[in-house]
């Protein structure tokens, strides 16, 4: 019933003796997330948070797209901090970018990209996942590490990351990389893309956290320790 157990260090189903009488279930541990993936994931979390927060400090100076009342900026203590925001952004951009590039390289070299990248039919499958998650469709989902909706989400967020790095570079050096800024529709076009991608991360984060909560502790723990408990 589970695929991730193959080749795992814990291939055998074993019985837990002490509670076996009360809970006569067989449980085994199945490898889920590799050590590298877990590190990339958890390192990215605070780095992305710092990039978004410092981005807000920069955005304050010229809030072109979403306008907030000055009292709101002050209440959040994110007003008049442009220089600080830029210093943070141009420090942590390196860590954020390097972690992201290493993650992509790792998935390519290890072959784990196959579990993550959508393929033909993924869109239709993702629709079924959506209907299932909204309790509209009752049939169980096919068992695999990442369902179709996850594949689309996790691949999209990487494409978004690439978009953030490129649009960021176009904003950072719009003359040396004038061709890049041109691709984004000019300097202001690059700013527009950079901003809305960030809004996209926030949306991703909210859905992601909701799904993690819904999936439960065993799933969350697997992102920390790498293995998942599987009931036979």
């Amino acid at each position: 019933m589970v695929t991730a157990g193959r080749g795992s260090r814990f291939p055998q189903a074993t019985m837990k003796p002490s509670r076996a009488a009360r809970h006569p279930i067989l449980m085994h541990l199945a490898r889920k997330h590799s050590l590298a993936i877990r590190w990339f994931h958890w390192i990215n979390f605070p780095l992305l948070a710092v990039m978004i927060w410092s981005g807000i400090l920069i955005y304050w100076a010229y809030p072109a797209y979403v306008k907030l009342d000055p009292s709101t900026w002050r209440a959040l203590h994110v007003n008049n901090r442009l220089a600080e925001g830029m210093a943070l952004h141009f420090f942590f951009m390196w860590l954020f970018g390097v972690n992201g590039v290493l993650y992509v390289l790792y998935t390519l070299i290890s072959g784990e990209w196959r579990e993550l990248v959508p393929r033909r039919g993924t869109l239709r499958e993702a629709w079924n996942v959506l209907l299932h998650d909204l309790r509209i469709r009752k049939e169980p989902l096919p068992r695999k590490k990442f369902n179709a909706a996850q594949q689309i989400a996790y691949t999209s967020v990487i494409v978004m990351g690439a978009g953030s790095l490129l649009s960021g570079l176009a904003i950072y050096k719009p003359v040396q990389f004038a061709w890049l800024a041109w691709l984004f529709g000019g300097y202001q076009g690059a700013r527009f893309v950079h901003f809305w991608l960030t809004v996209g991360y926030v949306a991703f984060f909210l859905v992601h956290v909701a799904q993690v909560v819904r999936a439960g502790w065993n799933n969350f723990r697997a992102m920390v320790i790498g293995v998942e408990a599987v009931n036979e």
Binding site: L29, A61, A83, F90, F91, Q176, V224, I225, G226
Partner: protein
């Protein structure tokens, strides 16, 4: 093998590692943010801004130009920043001083008009994020430097308003960039006072903060010049 025991062991190890990593990350963050400031920003951030500057200067090419626009792309002009413009100015008595050349130089606006006139429509990008498209007319800073050369090529230029209320530093490559103008006209009119009459810098390879208004003195120097916003937490280089 006992799965329940394995799970406990792996959980203990995994969450402990994560806790230690989170603690180390948080401590590093606190340490970074509490370092003594250097020109308005904690020194580790200043060091990285300077490292970024070295990379940018190594990559910089005078052949890469800021995009030029058509007449129809011109936007409404915007005035921002009046540091160095507060004292009254007698435009007839104004002179551009060049220090560090073989002999000291004082130029009138008419002297500057003897240089080949250059006009370009470029984007002025404010460090705040907005940008405007402006038609600048003036002369190339590189042409003026060529006429009044320093004994040897300096590393920097320091440019100041007459009262030194505003001052910037420029790396030599940006100063010599072909689009860097000493401008005396904005959108075909002589510069109004708030835009920096009688002479300002139009330097599209830099943020607006380096486009200094009401230039009084240009000085050739090998010592990294003070920069008004560079002293207030911003990137000294501020280059595009």
């Amino acid at each position: 093998m006992n799965s329940e025991k394995d799970l406990k062991r792996l959980s203990r190890r995994g969450f402990l590692t994560m806790g230690v990593a989170a603690g180390a990350g948080y401590a590093s963050w606190k340490w970074l943010r509490t370092r003594p400031r250097e020109d308005g920003v904690a020194w580790p951030f200043r060091r990285v801004l300077e490292a970024n500057e070295r990379i940018a200067r190594a990559y910089f090419s005078p052949e890469r130009l800021s995009p030029e626009f058509r007449e129809s792309d011109l936007t409404r002009v915007r005035v921002n920043g009046s540091q160095g413009l507060k004292a009254p100015i007698d435009l007839d008595a104004w002179r551009l001083k060049i220090e560090g050349a073989a002999t000291p130089v004082e130029l009138t606006l008419d002297d500057l008009r003897q240089f080949p006139r250059r006009t370009s429509i470029t984007e002025l990008r404010c460090i705040e994020g907005w940008s405007i498209i402006v038609r600048w007319s003036g002369v190339r800073l590189a042409d003026v430097m060529e006429k009044f050369p320093p004994p040897r090529m300096p590393q920097y230029l320091a440019i100041e308003t007459p009262d030194r209320g505003y001052y910037i530093g420029l790396d030599i490559e940006s100063a010599l960039h072909p689009q860097t103008l000493l401008a005396f006209e904005i959108n075909d009119s002589p510069l109004p006072i708030p835009h920096g009459a009688p002479l300002r810098l139009a330097i599209p390879v830099k943020y607006g903060i380096k486009n200094i208004k009401r230039i009084g003195t240009i000085r050739y120097t090998d010592i990294r010049p003070a920069d008004f916003w560079g002293e207030r937490g911003y990137d000294w280089y501020a280059g595009h």
